[in-house]
């Protein structure tokens, strides 16, 4: 379906490590991922598998002592990892935006919500083409800014936006906080939105609303979205394509229907068996045995082999290549080599 489009974002063998006392933690190792214009891509995996770190790596926001040691992040052909820092700042929030897991701690508690949205507009000179400045001393621009902030708040579905912009984050409910964060993220019409577990901290009913909002933004503005989640069911309902990560590596990627109906990688299969199906006959859920491996001491070969039902001796050694199957599906498993 999406194979013919030229990718908007292309990640090539991205590797991010964290030196720790116990050794080098390879949070992301050799990640390859492409995102097309207008695509809704789900990035799925258990917590601690490197999903969030890969998102932060795209924006080069991995906090100390984490480091990106290899790879390329090509945005429309330009490698972000080699951009000078000032040019990188032009990408952040303008080309690629991010929304985070916990809106409560992500919004700055000391500033009004409206000002936090306006800051993005100002930094990227989104008003009257005036240069980027953080000083709001221009009256005409202040007026335009207010108007735009209200528009944005309205767009993300916050009631009474002209009042809401003057509120502080702690005066918002969790759902409203996440909406405000989305307003910040989309304020400069970014091409890509990285949504890192955007609904994990919210009630189920709010979850659905937020996902609807993201879908609407995708349809109306053509914003591509990478939805990072541990919830395969959520990704399945929202995304066109799904990528599954395990222990810092991509293990499977394909269209949602294909991945859900015919998972190829044993890990993906295991994940699917963990999801209760409403209406299905009562079957015991099948948890995947064992635990997520320690990223500082990854088992050799396929990181999943200690938990895999179909493991062979060959799984324990060497690098397992990512194979592209005839239907365009990518799988990293010896069964398909």
């Amino acid at each position: 379906m999406t194979t013919e489009r030229k990718p908007l974002l292309e990640i090539r063998s991205l590797t991010t490590v964290f030196p720790t006392r116990r050794g080098l933690v390879r949070a992301v190792s050799g990640l390859d991922l492409t995102l097309a214009r207008g695509e809704l891509l789900g990035l799925v995996g258990e917590s601690g598998c490197g999903k969030s770190v890969s998102m932060l790596s795209i924006l080069r926001l991995v906090s100390h002592p984490g480091r990106i040691v290899a790879g390329e992040v090509l945005l429309e052909g330009q490698d972000l990892l080699r951009l000078p820092i000032h040019a990188m700042r032009q990408v952040r929030g303008r080309q690629i935006s991010m929304i985070f897991q916990d809106p409560m701690t992500t919004l700055n508690p000391a500033f009004r919500v409206g000002d936090q949205i306006a800051e993005s507009l100002r930094i990227h000179g989104m008003l009257n083409g005036s240069g980027s400045s953080i000083w709001p001393f221009n009256r005409g621009r202040a007026e335009a800014e207010r108007k735009r902030v209200v528009e944005l708040l309205d767009e993300v579905g916050i009631a009474v936006p002209w009042e809401a912009r003057k509120r502080y984050p702690h005066e918002f409910s969790g759902g409203m906080q996440q909406r405000a964060l989305i307003a910040i993220a989309v304020s400069c019409h970014p091409k890509i939105l990285l949504a890192d577990e955007p609904t994990t901290a919210l009630d189920v009913t709010i979850q659905a609303q937020i996902m609807d909002l993201l879908r609407r933004l995708n349809q109306e503005h053509g914003t591509s979205v990478i939805l990072v989640t541990h919830n395969l069911a959520l990704a399945a309902t929202f995304c066109q394509n799904i990528a599954v990560m395990y222990a810092g590596r991509l293990v499977e990627k394909g269209s949602t229907d294909a991945v859900i109906e015919d998972p190829r990688h044993p890990y993906t299969r295991g994940l699917l068996e963990c999801i209760p199906k409403i209406g299905a006959t009562r079957q015991p859920l099948q948890p995947i045995p064992g635990n997520v491996p320690d990223l500082a001491e990854l088992p050799p070969g396929c990181a999943f082999h200690p938990r895999c039902k179909k493991a062979q001796d060959a799984c324990q050694e060497g690098e397992i290549p990512l194979v592209t199957l005839e239907d365009g599906r990518q799988v990293r498993c010896l069964l398909y080599v």
Binding site: Q90, G93, F100, T105, P109, E119, I134, Y168
Partner: protein, 336 residues
């Protein structure tokens, strides 16, 4: 809304000040023996005929509760009694000396903040660097250093050995300053007297450093630890993800939140500054309230001691009120 709350807090200081007055009164009466006799014995400057008059003035012939009532009634009208050592009303004496004390306290606070804020921020950003470790060791030293000893060291180095700065007083009288407000630095500017400005600033430097060093150390420590904390928060990552410059990530997003605990500590420091004032004024012969109080104590000029202590308490309470109000502007989660 905020106005009403501020007024409420202001009203709340009234019972506190009332309690302060009662406490001061009780202390005075706890003094062993007849205060008038003691005063006479120490001062020896009052004619015997005045004894009775003094007794009356202190209302010592009345029962205790009546004495308390009369004392409070006078205090409310702004009458803190009469200093017989200076032969002047206490309020007048205090009004004369208060600007000097406030000037010194402000100088110290200014010094403290100018030193502490950059150090606190820098140390947090460059946590565990050499600069950070040295600064924090210095801050530890500053917290442990008695103000009077630091004052003496400063005099020894900068006045006695290097002869850069004057030892005592507020100004050279040859500068010919015309006093307007009592704040010499301000007066020099108002009257356009450059010589006086230079002289008063020179006199202000060492006492401000001696008094402000502890504050600088304390504020630097707190600011550093709260900056480290807020630099770790998610909102800092959001700010970076928005494309905010690192300078502004630190100075706006992180600092704004780190100021919240810091302001609380500055509030506590106001009390330390006022107390330290007495000591530092003594070291530098700074003609302020503290020196006045110490002299009054040694001449057993009880009405003056009483008055000065109450003014100190009032200043402290008001300064804390100011900090509380400031706090509501800095921390949106708190409304007085």
């Amino acid at each position: 809304m905020r106005g009403v709350k501020i007024l409420e807090r202001l009203l709340y200081t009234i019972p506190i000040m009332f309690g302060v007055a009662v406490l001061v009164f009780l202390f005075m009466r706890m003094t062993p023996g007849d205060p008038v006799d003691i005063m006479m014995g120490e001062a020896g400057t009052v004619a015997p005929g005045e004894m009775e008059q003094l007794r009356k003035e202190f209302h010592l012939d009345e029962p205790l509760h009546v004495q308390l009532y009369l004392f409070l009634a006078d205090a409310v009208r702004g009458d803190l009694g009469y200093s017989y050592a200076y032969k002047k009303p206490v309020t007048e004496l205090i009004a004369e000396q208060l600007p000097a004390t406030i000037e010194l306290a402000l100088g110290a606070l200014l010094f403290g903040l100018i030193v502490a804020v950059p150090i606190g921020i820098w140390s947090a950003v460059k946590q565990y660097s050499v600069v950070d470790r040295l600064s924090m060791a210095g801050a530890f030293l500053g917290v442990s250093m008695p103000a009077f000893w630091l004052g003496i060291l400063l005099i020894l180095i900068f006045s006695v050995k290097l002869r850069w700065l004057p030892v005592t007083g507020r100004i050279d009288y040859t500068a010919g300053l015309q006093v307007v407000t009592g704040f010499y630095v301000l007066d020099s500017i108002l009257t356009g007297n450059t010589t006086a400005l230079v002289s008063s600033l020179k006199h202000l430097v060492l006492p401000s450093v001696a008094l402000g060093a502890g504050t600088a150390a304390m504020v630097a420590r707190v600011l550093r630890s709260s900056m480290v904390e807020s630099l770790r928060q998610d909102y800092v990552i959001l700010a970076r993800a928005k494309g905010v410059r690192e300078t502004w990530v630190v100075l706006k997003h992180a600092l704004r939140n780190a100021l919240i605990p810091t302001v609380t500590v500055v509030g506590i420091q106001v009390g330390v500054l006022l107390g330290g004032n007495m000591i530092v004024e003594q070291v530098f012969s700074w003609p302020g309230l503290g020196r006045l109080a110490v002299r009054a104590i040694f001449s057993r000029d009880f009405p003056l001691v009483q008055g000065v202590v109450m003014v100190y308490a009032l200043t402290f309470v008001l300064a804390n009120l100011l900090v509380d109000i400031l706090y509501t502007y800095i921390n949106p989660k708190i409304t007085l």
